[in-house]
C-alpha cells in the first residue's frame, strides 16, 4: 500500500511538472496569438489592445488538459495498447451494422418529406438544404475518395480538383451548348475520370508522402488554371446563371409551365430543394452501391491487395499500372458527378469553392470514418459537415458571450480538437474493421490493426 501511495505521489508530481511546462509553452505561444490584438480606431490609427483574461484562460486550459492527460488518459491508453491485437472485431458490431443500414436508408428517404410536412415551406429549407444536401454531397465525395485512399491505399490530397472539373464541365457545357443536367451528369463524370487518369500517369511510381505532395500540387494547379484562364472560366468572378436541373423537362419555376403549376400545387421553392435532395441521395447511393460491388469484384480485391503489397501483386500477374489508374479514374468519376450536381444546385461556381481546405475536409471524413469503411464515412460526414452547419445555428451563445461572438469562427479549432481526440482514441478511424470481400463459412470482420494503410505501415512496438 505504501509503495502504491508512493508511486501515486510520484505520478502526481510528474503530472504537475508536465502541466507547468505545458502552461509555460502555451503562454509563449499564445502571447502573440491571443494576448495582443491589433485593430484600427476611429481615426484610422493602428492600436494594440491586450487580452490578459482570455490569454490566461487558454493557458489554463492547456495546463489542466495536460495534467488530466498525464494522470488519467495516458495510463489508460498504455493499458489499452498492451492488450493483444484481436483478429476479429466484436460480434455485436456486426449485428448493429447489418441492421442499421436498411433503417438509415429508409430514414434518409423519408427525411425531406417529414421536414416538409412538419416545418412547412419556410422552416424546412434550412434543414433539407444546409443539412441534408450538404451532408450528402460530402458523403458521396467521401465514398468516392474512399475508393482511392481506403481501398487502393493511394493518398490523394487533391481530390477537390476532380470535383472542380465536374462542376466546371457542367457549368461550361450547359451554358455554351445548352445541354441538360441528365446529359451532362455522365459527361462530367467521364471528363473527371479522364483527368483522374491524367493525374494517375505521372504518380504511378510514387508512394506515400511523395504521392500526397504531387496530388496536392495537382489540386492547386487545377484551381490556379481556373483562376487564371479568365477567357474560359471568368477567373475569380466565377460562372453565374448556370441552368438549374429540371424535373425531367419541367422547370421548378413559378411560371405556368412550372413544376407547381403542372402538378396543381401551390408554388414553393422547397420543391426544387426536395428534388435536388433526392438527386444527390440517388447519386450517393449509386456511389455506395458501385463501390460495394467493386470491392467484391476482382478489381476491388486487386485494389486492396495493392494497398497491402504491391510487389506481391506484380508477382501474381496483376497489372498494377492499370489497377492504380482505374482506382484514380473511379474515384474521380464520382467526384465529377458530385461536382456537376454542385454546379447545378448553386447555379454559381467560382474557384473559391475548390480550395485545398475542401480536399482536406473530404480526406478528414475518410480518415475519421475509418479507411475503407462506408458507414464510417457517413458518420464522419454527419459530424463534420453537420457540425459546422450546427455552429451557424447556435445564436443563443451570443446571449452568453456577447453580440460579437461568432461560433463559426471556432470551426477549425473544434475540428482540430476532434481530430486529435479521434487519433488518440481510435487511431484507425471510427469503424476500424475490414469486412472480407468473400468467405467460405463465416464472414469474420478483420481488425484494422492487421490491415495496411498503403502509404505507410504503422509501427507497433
Amino acid at each position: 500500500m505504501a509503495a502504491g501511495a508512493q508511486s501515486g505521489r510520484v505520478a502526481t508530481t510528474g503530472a504537475f511538472r508536465d502541466a507547468a511546462f505545458t502552461g509555460l509553452l502555451a503562454f509563449a505561444l499564445f502571447l502573440p496569438l491571443i494576448g495582443f490584438l491589433t485593430g484600427v480606431n476611429g481615426s484610422n490609427e493602428l492600436i494594440l489592445t491586450t487580452r490578459w483574461p482570455l490569454l490566461f484562460a487558454f493557458v489554463a486550459i492547456a495546463a489542466i488538459g495536460r495534467f488530466i492527460y498525464v494522470l488519467a488518459l495516458k495510463p489508460w491508453l498504455a493499458r489499452r495498447a498492451q492488450q493483444p491485437v484481436r483478429a476479429e472485431a466484436p460480434a455485436w458490431r456486426a449485428y448493429v451494422t447489418d441492421w442499421i443500414v436498411p433503417f438509415a436508408v429508409a430514414l434518409v428517404i423519408a427525411y425531406p418529406l417529414v421536414i416538409f410536412f412538419t416545418l412547412g415551406s419556410n422552416g424546412g429549407q434550412k434543414w433539407i438544404d444546409n443539412f441534408g444536401i450538404q451532408i450528402l454531397i460530402y458523403v458521396m465525395l467521401g465514398w468516392g475518395l474512399n475508393i482511392v485512399v481506403g481501398l487502393a491505399g493511394l493518398l490523394d490530397l487533391g481530390y477537390v480538383a476532380f470535383y472542380a472539373v465536374g462542376a466546371y464541365s457542367y457549368a461550361l457545357l450547359a451554358k455554351t451548348f445548352g445541354l441538360g443536367f441528365w446529359v451532362l451528369l455522365p459527361l462530367a463524370g467521364i471528363l473527371s475520370s479522364f483527368w483522374g487518369i491524367l493525374l494517375g500517369f505521372p504518380v504511378l511510381r510514387l508512394r506515400g508522402d511523395y504521392l500526397a505532395i504531387v496530388t496536392l500540387a495537382f489540386g492547386e494547379i487545377i484551381r490556379l488554371v481556373l483562376i487564371n484562364w479568365v477567357a474560359l472560366t471568368n477567373g475569380y468572378a466565377g460562372i453565374i446563371g448556370i441552368p438549374r436541373p429540371t424535373f425531367f423537362g419541367i422547370p421548378f419555376s413559378a411560371a405556368d409551365n412550372g413544376f407547381a403549376a403542372v402538378f396543381g400545387l401551390q408554388f414553393s421553392p422547397l420543391y426544387r430543394i426536395i428534388f435536388l435532395y433526392y438527386v444527390i441521395l440517388a447519386l450517393a447511393l449509386l456511389t455506395c452501391f458501385v463501390s460495394l460491388r467493386l470491392r467484391r469484384l476482382p478489381i476491388g480485391r486487386a485494389w486492396e491487395a495493392l494497398r497491402e503489397d504491391e510487389i506481391a501483386c506484380r508477382s501474381l500477374g496483376i497489372n498494377t499500372t492499370n489497377t492504380k489508374l482505374t482506382a484514380f479514374a473511379m474515384g474521380a468519376m464520382f467526384a465529377g458527378f458530385a461536382g456537376s450536381f454542385f454546379a447545378a444546385r448553386e447555379a454559381f461556381i467560382s474557384p473559391e469553392s475548390f480550395t485545398f481546405i475542401e480536399s482536406a475536409t473530404i480526406l478528414a471524413i475518410v480518415v475519421l470514418g475509418g479507411m475503407g469503411s462506408q458507414i464510417g464515412v457517413v458518420i464522419a460526414a454527419i459530424v463534420m459537415i453537420g457540425g459546422s452547419e450546427l455552429l451557424r445555428q447556435l445564436d443563443f451563445l451570443k446571449d452568453i458571450f456577447g453580440p460579437g461572438f461568432d461560433p463559426t469562427q471556432y470551426r477549425m479549432l473544434l475540428f482540430g480538437l476532434a481530430m486529435v481526440l479521434i487519433m488518440v482514441w481510435r487511431p484507425r478511424g471510427l469503424i476500424a474493421t475490414r469486412t472480407p470481400s468473400v468467405f467460405l463459412k463465416q464472414r469474420k470482420r478483420i481488425s484494422a490493426d492487421l490491415v495496411k494503410e498503403g502509404h505507410a505501415t504503422r509501427g507497433r512496438g
Binding site: 486487386a302 506484380r314 508477382s315 498494377t320 475490414r434 469474420k444 478483420i446 490491415v451
Partner: protein, 303 residues
C-alpha cells in the same frame, strides 16, 4: 510421372551488375521440365538476384532467359525469336518467352512463372481465401468482363467466382488450412504462412514455380511437410520447380538437380550427390580460398 528431360527454362550468360558490383556473372543453366532444380550457395552469392531476373523484377545487364511452354520442338525457334526483337512466340502447340524482355507482371501472367519471397509477402489484412482469389485475378477479371459485366451482376461472373473458390478450397485442403480460410492471413503461424504463399503462387496456374527459401524458419516437422508438398506439386501437377534453399536436408532429399553459385559465378551443376562431394562446393561453403585448404579446414571442423 512424365519427365521428358527437356528444359523448361534456359538461363544463358546471365549477368547482372549493380554499379560496379557484379552480382551474377555469366551464369548459364537449364531448369528441367517436371523436375525440382535447387539453386544454392553461400549468403550473398546472387541467388535471389537470379530469381529477380527470371521473374522480371530486375532487367538483366546481359543474358537471355527463355521459358518454353509445352512443345520442346519450339526451342528451334529461339534464334529467330531473339533476332525478331519480339517478347514471345506463340503457336498452337506451345509458346516461347524471352523473360528478360517482359515486365514482371507479364512474366507471371503470360509466361506463367510464379514466385514466393524470402520474407513472406502475403496480403496480411486479407483473409486466407482472399489471398488465393487475388492470385486468380486475371482469370476472374476476364470473367467479370473487365469489371463492366461484374458491376451489372451477370451470372457468368458468379459461376467463375465459384470455380475460383473451389480451386482455392482444393489448395486449402491440400495445405491443411481449410479451417482457417476466413481468418486474416497475418494471423497464421509462420509455417502456415509459408505454405499459403506457395498455394497462392500455385493458384496462378504456373508452368514454373520459383521458391525463395521456402524452408527458412521452419522446424524439422514443417520442413518435412514442405518436402511432401513440393513433391506433390512436381508429381501430381507436373510443374517444374526452381528453389533457393539453405536447408540442405530439403535440397538433398527432394531436388533432382542442383546448381551452386558463389560470388555470382556457377561453381557446380549436377545431381545432388555429385554436388555434395564437389570440393569446390565444400570450399565455398566453408569460406576458404581453394581446394587445398579444404582438407585442412575440414579436418579442423571434423568433417
Amino acid at each position: 510421372m512424365a519427365r521428358d528431360g527437356g528444359a523448361v527454362l534456359k538461363v544463358e550468360h546471365l549477368t547482372m551488375r549493380f554499379g560496379g558490383l557484379v552480382a551474377v556473372d555469366n551464369l548459364s543453366f537449364d531448369v528441367e521440365r517436371g523436375a525440382i532444380t535447387a539453386l544454392i550457395g553461400p549468403n550473398g552469392a546472387g541467388k535471389t538476384t537470379v530469381f529477380n531476373c527470371i521473374t522480371g523484377f530486375y532487367k538483366p545487364t546481359e543474358g537471355r532467359l527463355t521459358l518454353q511452354h509445352d512443345a520442346p520442338a519450339l526451342w528451334n525457334a529461339l534464334e529467330d525469336l531473339t533476332q525478331s526483337g519480339a517478347r514471345s512466340v506463340t503457336r498452337t502447340d506451345g509458346a516461347l518467352f524471352l523473360l528478360e524482355r517482359m515486365p514482371d507482371y507479364l512474366v507471371a501472367q503470360q509466361a506463367r512463372v510464379a514466385r514466393t519471397f524470402q520474407n513472406i509477402r502475403l496480403f496480411s489484412g486479407m483473409t486466407v481465401l482472399e489471398n488465393l482469389l487475388v492470385a486468380q485475378h486475371n482469370r476472374l477479371m476476364h470473367a467479370s468482363g473487365y469489371t463492366l459485366l461484374g458491376i451489372l451482376g451477370l451470372p457468368s461472373y458468379a459461376a467463375a467466382e465459384r470455380a475460383a473458390i473451389d480451386a482455392a478450397r482444393g489448395w486449402l485442403d491440400r495445405i491443411g488450412l481449410l479451417d482457417r480460410a476466413d481468418d486474416p492471413a497475418g494471423t497464421l503461424p509462420y509455417g502456415a504462412q509459408r505454405r499459403l504463399e506457395i498455394a497462392r503462387a500455385m493458384c496462378t496456374e504456373p508452368v514454373l514455380l520459383c521458391l525463395d527459401e521456402p524452408a527458412a524458419g521452419l522446424n524439422p516437422h514443417e520442413s518435412a511437410e514442405l518436402n511432401e508438398l513440393l513433391l506433390v506439386v512436381r508429381d501430381e501437377y507436373a510443374i517444374s520447380i526452381l528453389l533457393i534453399e539453405h536447408d540442405m536436408t530439403v535440397v538433398m532429399n527432394i531436388s533432382d538437380h542442383v546448381v551452386v553459385l558463389d560470388y555470382g559465378i556457377k561453381i557446380a551443376d549436377g545431381a545432388p550427390d555429385a554436388v555434395r562431394d564437389d570440393p569446390k562446393v565444400i570450399a565455398a561453403y566453408l569460406g576458404v580460398a581453394d581446394e587445398d585448404e579444404v582438407a585442412k579446414v575440414a579436418g579442423e571442423v571434423g568433417l
